[in-house]
Structures are given as C-alpha cells and as structure tokens.
Symmetry: C2
Subunit: 282 residues, 2 copies
C-alpha cells in the first residue's frame, strides 16, 4: 500500500508512532502533521509538512487519522471530511467509539468516507517523545464500521493498519465500548483507586507488583476523564460486577460468623483468576 499523502491530526504518542511506522514501512509518500505544538515531531523528522490548522493539511490528504483526545475527535473528523476530497478516508484512534460514531452519523452526510478505529496499543506515557515505530506490530486494531458511511472505508482503513503491522478486528461501536470497559477502562479505574489510596509513607514499600498493577494510573487525567465520560455506563456496569466480586473476597477474608478466614473461597477466586491470566499468554 502506498498513500500519497497521509495527514495525522494530533502528533502525540499514537500519532507519532503512526508517523514513524508509516515512514519506516514506506506506507506514505508524504506525512503531514497537524497540531498546536509540533516542535518535537518535526525535530524527530516524523513529518514532511506541518500545520496548526486542519484545512491546509487535509485538503490534499488521501488518508486522515484523527489522534486527538476523544472529546475532540468527532468535531475534528467532521471538519476533516468537510475539508477533504470526497474520497479522502477519515478515521480515528479514539479509545471510545459509540459517542464519536453516533455524533458523526448525525453530522455527516450518508456515504461519507469515515470509519471509527481504535488500536489496542499505547502506554501510560503521552507525547511524541514516547512514539514507537513498532507500537502497532502484531497489535489488534478494532474498526467499527457503520452502514451510514462509505462501504469501502473499513477496507481501506484495514489495509492501512495492516500495512503498519497491525491485525484488524471489526466490531460495532457498542460492542467495542462494552469490551474495552472491561479490558481497559475498568482496570484503569481500579489501578487509579489503588494508587490514590497509597499513603506517602508507604511509597518506599511499593515493589514491582504494586508498580505493575498501577502502571496505567500514570495516564493523563484529562484524557482519561474524557474516555471515562464517553463510556460511563459500560464502565459503571463493569464496576458493579467488580464490586460484587470484591465483596465476595471481603466476606471470605473476614466472615461475619467466624474469626477464621474462608480459605477455600479465597483459593477458588484466585484459581479462577490464574486460569484467565494464564489463558492470556505472556
């Protein structure tokens, strides 16, 4: 695949990694970045051109990837469709899909060349200085096509992500959001709660187990607040289930009717957990 002109709106960790991978794999002839501060990305040689404004960047683009925070994606994608050619593919990398896609269905005309996307790759770090040319290698990219939009958008986006090394899975926006509530948003929330409740005097005692379990709590609070708000009902539903499971643990640790913990129940919960952990592979 060769894209004559690729525009990346928001050149942070994900946008920067797309630029690096597209360059290294010769997926794009020309890479244009859009954003308020492209100093680092320019110095890294990620971009051939850069603009503060969307219009001059998108005008000639064949593919536009919107990598802004989730609460700006719908607005930017809408403008990109308006500024681009009719066959310019517009897609995004947002961690939520239903709010964004439904917003665009209501704003874009039928047959517009848009498809929602979410690469399941990233880090708790932000910024192009953490971009990684191999970020998408063998990683899953979820695409969430909708019949309101051009039928070939999903195939073109799939070809694009495969050319960056990714594997593509297609889901509805709603399926996506329910899934990532459990695989990403709820773990993030729990990691944040654990990190938030650690008193300063115990920081020195936090070893690798604590650090791994709470690593994602290093993510940007503003970015993640937007994600949480866009997927709030699915996360709240998952949280209720998690709290029920934690209450089972709590009852087993300190049973009302006994001074002795219920070892069998604890071991059963830990065994179920390990079975799932091991099934994930390394």
């Amino acid at each position: 695949m060769l894209i004559p002109t690729l525009a990346i709106v928001g050149v942070g960790l994900i946008g920067g990694s797309i630029a690096l991978a597209a360059r290294s794999r010769r997926v794009a002839r020309r890479i244009i970045g859009v954003g308020p501060d492209l100093e680092h990305a320019r110095h890294q040689g990620m971009l051939d051109e850069w603009h503060h404004e969307l219009q001059p960047a998108v005008r000639d683009a064949d593919v536009v990837v919107v990598c802004t925070p989730v609460d700006q994606i719908a607005k930017v994608a809408c403008e990109a469709v308006a500024c681009g050619r009719p066959d310019t593919l517009v897609t995004d990398v947002g961690s939520t899909k239903a709010v964004i896609v439904n917003n665009l269905i209501s704003q874009l005309r039928e047959g517009s060349c848009f498809v929602g996307g979410h690469p399941l790759a990233g880090s708790e770090k932000s910024g192009p200085q953490f971009a990684d040319v191999r970020l998408f290698e063998n990683r899953l990219i979820v695409l969430t096509p909708h019949r309101w939009f051009a039928a070939d958008a999903v195939d073109r986006a799939a070809a694009f992500w495969r050319s960056l090394g990714g594997r593509v899975m297609v889901m509805t926006p709603e399926e996506h959001d329910k899934a990532v509530a459990l695989t990403s948003h709820l773990p993030h929330l729990v990691a944040a709660a654990l990190a938030a409740m650690l008193p300063a005097e115990l920081h020195e005692l936090a070893a690798s187990g604590f650090r791994d379990t709470t690593r994602v709590a290093g993510g940007d609070p503003e970015l993640w607040s937007s994600i949480f708000c866009q997927n709030h009902l699915s996360i709240a539903e998952g949280l209720t289930r998690l709290q029920n499971l934690l209450s089972q643990f709590g009852n087993a640790l300190n049973p009302e009717e006994s001074t002795v913990p219920d070892r069998a129940t604890i071991c059963d919960l830990l065994t179920r957990a390990k079975r799932n952990h091991d099934a994930l592979g390394s």
Copy 2:
C-alpha cells in the same frame, strides 16, 4: 561478609535467587539446599549439597533462610533453631510477619537467634527456573526484629541481605503486615478480581494495560491463599477503603440525580492517582 555454610530451605524463585546471588557475590562458602525436589536447583549448580530433611542441612549451618510457603515457615524455623547451633541465625522471607513471629515467640526460648524478614522482590512466577541472580539488587528487605529474640540477629540478617545487594528497613511485624496489605496483598486481590471477571471472548482484546494490571494474578493460588489468610484483617480493612473509593468513582460515572457523568470528580480521583504514581518514580 563470608558465611561458611548457608542453608536455604525451599529452593524456589526466592530461595534459588538467594543461592545464585550468594554464589556470585561470594557471600557463602558452602550452600546447602533443603526441599522435596531439588533437581532443577542442582542442575543449575546453585547448590553444593542438598537434603530432603532439615536436620542434616541445618546442623552445620551458620545462616538458615526459610523460603517455604508462609504457612510452613513457623514450623520449619522452629525446627531449624532446634537443630542448629546456638549461634545459627535463622531468618525467613515470608510475605506476612505477625502470625509467623508471634508463633515463634510462643515456641522458641528467649534469646533464640531468629529474625523475621521479607524481601520486597519476586514475580508472579514460581520455581528455581525463574531464579534471578540480581533479584535483590537495590531492593528493599524488611526485617521485623522482636526483643524476645537474640539482639544481634537483626544486624546479622541485615549484613547478609546487604551483601546480596539489598537495602534493609526495620519495622515491627504488625507495621509490616499493615503496609504490605496496601502495597502488595490488596493489589493482588484486585488484580485477581479483574482477571477472574474477564470473559473468554474478550481475551483477545486484553492489551498491555490489562496484562500489566493483572500480572500478579498469575501467582500460585495456594501460596497466595496462605498469605491472604495470615494477613486477612489488614487486607479486609484496606479492601473496605478501596470499595469506598470505587463507590465514589461509581457515583461519579453514573450519578443518581443526572444522566451526565460528574467529570470533575472523576478527574480529581485520576489526578490524585497520577500524583502518587509519579511520586513512586519509574
């Protein structure tokens, strides 16, 4: 420091790492392993001698480190004190301390050369094949001396751990248990709950964030059940606080009085979490 004879009871990940580090740093002249199956440790050249029984191993030992599962430590340490010389130092690596130390106070005579210990190092893996010669380098080792035991036990154990590359911190057994409830046991419980509730059809969508957050859930359920049971009240107390914090998140995600999530509260919780995360350093 040179220990003429070091005995390690239970040569798994921790015991094996002690053997490797003691050998590589020339901390011990002779290393004896005790355990039911020492095949791997012998093949790795970790040990100079090996026994299934405690007595022949401990008889000549200057230092005995008990690295069995926590529910066997008190019994083994008691036997080791009985079989060793009066000046044989007996210590352990258990993840809980109060139950073990109190048990030994009730069984050992005053002035016995014992001190409880817990290296804050490890992995979700088990077995000597995962032993790591550098496991203790710059890692914190908590020692929990008690005035019932010989006064020089803590200094000798501290010198031993420093010679393996570790840093030593002294706490009471109860302080230790309350601290690790928050830094290790509660994170383990939460990671297990997250792993346990992931449906099989979503395994493919679990990316690095999920894997990091739930890594410790790969730990051995039997070992961890024993740890949870020995520290059940402190963990239950921490769990109650965690559930209160999760309820705050839940109320903010899906407020009773509104269809719109409470973004300010979510962002505040995530900001507190990130502050603690960042304060831990990398």
